[in-house]
Symmetry: C2
Subunit: 413 residues, 2 copies
């Protein structure tokens, strides 16, 4: 059995690469912004291509711009793939997405240098887009791989300047008519390493996490309607205050998620009262709810409880309330077979790990229905993500690269 601690993994090179990639696509207001098909994205992809070639991989862009680096296996067959995404949110950091790519390249390079050629084909994947922060096209790269890009999307989806995603593709030499060619069926396993983006691993003292399931999400917009009136002349007992009703709902929604316990979450990130005058009782109030759970049955319970809260508070206060579902998808369980390989690999390093759901979405949730897929988490310092303050010390990353290399060895060698 391989002892992954003996593999040639260079912390200084890893650190230098995190820094080098992390200085491409700097946002004018701080942090990074590498958006699909923009200049920073092209520069980052070209840099990654050189690193992948240096590692001994045969590199190609697919029809939408995913970057694949491959070494053939002695026995052939379907590929074992590892990787993550390289695009960022606005004012994002150097770790979300990118660290999984760094870890993939480092692990594969260490295996090729330290062990040699695999039995199965081994590939590093850099998906071209996950965040959807330029176009409303989240998981663009991953969806192309599983054939889930709609025929109308290249023409219909445009960025804030009105540039369609199809036109942006052509600007980089990708032909929208050929998107279907990016689809793959010959993948035996996909392993994605990623920062946790939360504070659980660090707080609870685990060096690594193994993802059990990627959370189901529902985004709702709640509109509460009451009666607009004068804030001075309308007694409290004669009011039908839309904001007061919304506030009662939000307080109970927060408590419902809290009582249900981890990993249930419900977040109100936006709220607005109308007409919005200091001395006017709001006649209308709108707020969003982002609610998540990684297991189908408690997720159904939580959603039903939230709907019940909105209905009950509206009835008690003689308000009208409408809930519009903006986005909704079920939890995606990770492959138990691939998880078992990751867990065995971590144990062989003498390390502990936490089996945990992912509260954030990942490319893995798109790939998992087609390919056996699982995820490895490294801790995020102070739980920060989607901010320039994202950070994971390189010594924490090394354990992750060893665990990833050990997993790939089990799957491909």
């Amino acid at each position: 059995m391989l002892d992954a601690r003996t593999l040639p993994i260079d912390p200084a090179r890893l650190q230098a690469r995190i820094h080098e990639l992390g200085s491409i696509g700097v946002h004018p207001n701080g942090g990074l912004y590498r958006a699909l098909y923009d200049d920073g994205w092209v520069k980052a992809m070209e840099l990654l291509r050189t690193w992948m070639e240096e590692a001994g991989l045969a590199v190609r862009f697919d029809a939408v711009g995913n970057l694949w680096g491959r070494v053939e296996g002695t026995d052939g067959g379907s590929a074992v793939v590892t990787g993550s995404h390289v695009d960022t949110v606005r004012q994002g950091g150097k770790y979300d997405g990118a660290l999984g790519v760094h870890m993939a390249i480092a692990a594969v390079q260490a295996l090729l240098e330290g062990v040699g050629r695999p039995k199965r084909p081994l590939e590093v994947l850099v998906t071209c887009e996950e965040e959807g922060s330029r176009f409303a096209c989240s998981f663009w790269g991953a969806r192309a791989i599983v054939g889930r890009i709609g025929a109308e999307e290249p023409e219909q989806i445009a960025d804030a300047d009105g540039v369609t995603i199809g036109a942006a593709m052509q600007g980089r030499g990708f032909d929208p008519a050929r998107i279907g060619e990016a689809e793959r069926h010959d993948v035996a396993a996909f392993v994605e390493a990623h920062i946790e983006q939360g504070a659980i691993l660090e707080r609870e003292g685990f060096p690594l996490g193994v993802v059990s399931s990627i959370t189901g999400q529902r985004w709702m917009q709640v509109t509460v309607r009451g009666v607009q009136n004068h804030a001075g002349t309308t007694p409290m007992d004669l009011r039908r205050d839309a904001l007061a009703g919304a506030v009662a709902m939000i307080g109970q929604i927060e408590q419902a998620a809290f009582r249900m316990g981890r990993p249930a979450v419900a977040t109100v990130g936006r709220i607005q009262a109308f007409p919005g005058g200091t001395n006017i009782i709001p006649g209308r109030c709108e707020f969003t709810v982002d609610t998540r759970h990684a297991e189908p049955e408690p997720r159904r319970q939580l959603l039903a409880e939230i709907e019940g809260i909105v209905e009950r508070v509206a009835r008690e206060r003689e308000l009208e309330a409408a809930v519009e579902v903006i986005m909704d998808h079920d939890p995606v369980p990770m492959s138990t077979a691939i998880r078992a390989e990751i867990e065995a690999s971590i144990r062989s390093l003498g390390l502990e790990y936490l089996v945990m759901p992912s509260g954030a979405g990942h490319d893995s949730e798109i790939l998992a229905p087609r390919f056996p897929t699982a995820m490895l988490f490294v801790p995020s310092k102070d739980g920060k993500s989607h901010t320039p303050e994202e950070y994971t010390p390189v010594e924490w990353v090394i354990a992750g690269v060893q665990a990833l290399a050990g997993t790939l060895h089990r799957l491909a060698y």
Copy 2:
């Protein structure tokens, strides 16, 4: 003793005048907007001048544009004054302010025609500005009368187009250097009739209200700071959610005012969460509180309770909270002597009345510290005000004109 029911008050003329004045200064989006020194205001003031002259009054504009119509008394002395304002909020109605002017003219005209010349001078006052909806200069006319306009105001206060109030005065032939000439000391009593702007009189079945006190108001801006984070990866028990804290505060503030009972009110009319993303736990939340009470001691209690709520919720949830006072003034009690005359006048009509605080501000709160001042309310249909839907049926108004005429008779004849 005068029976005011026998006075010559013409409902049809009153109705026609409400309609005629109510068609001057129409807002492009509906309702009225007559703002200080604008064209609609000039046209309205000129129309009122003709009606006041027709009633037999000697009419003049003072140095800021208040309109005074006077009949000398046989015995001389200080004047008995009645009136209200003629400016409106944006998209306001035909009744707020204007109805008190209609009632003043109708009552004085009925007394002059039905009874004859008073002993004391009797005056109708149309204040030039109360709402502050063009310039941030609320109670401009009333403040001029009591010498409370600051020397710097004409140059410093500007409208949304950058026109100073001093320049706007000059455009209408008023000299800012002469504002001091508008001040008066020779007023024996001021009686202001006004729509209630609330629903209490109608709901409780009183045809008229007598104001005990004009509410004290404090406007606050509360800023709550927590920790911005990812809505998916941060468990409920590790959050310091600024919006969740704000919502807990608002719920308790509403309950505190509700428990205290009428006339305590607390209103949150504006709220905003930052950064405002559906999937981001807000790191900051700002909201306003407009809190009012007509009595000093319970007002102090309510304010202390609200401050306590903000502090306690912030402490419990490990948030920071800051309260900024935007506006603050004490309740203004009405003259018990003038109130007694209004009440006696209403009783002599065989009508019931409710003694009630005013939850809205009025010119009377500015004049009351200098002159014995009191207010008479007529009901607002469905409690509506500051909207084109303001309405008080003319038959309800007639009782108010009779009560006002009876009061003026007691004070001036």
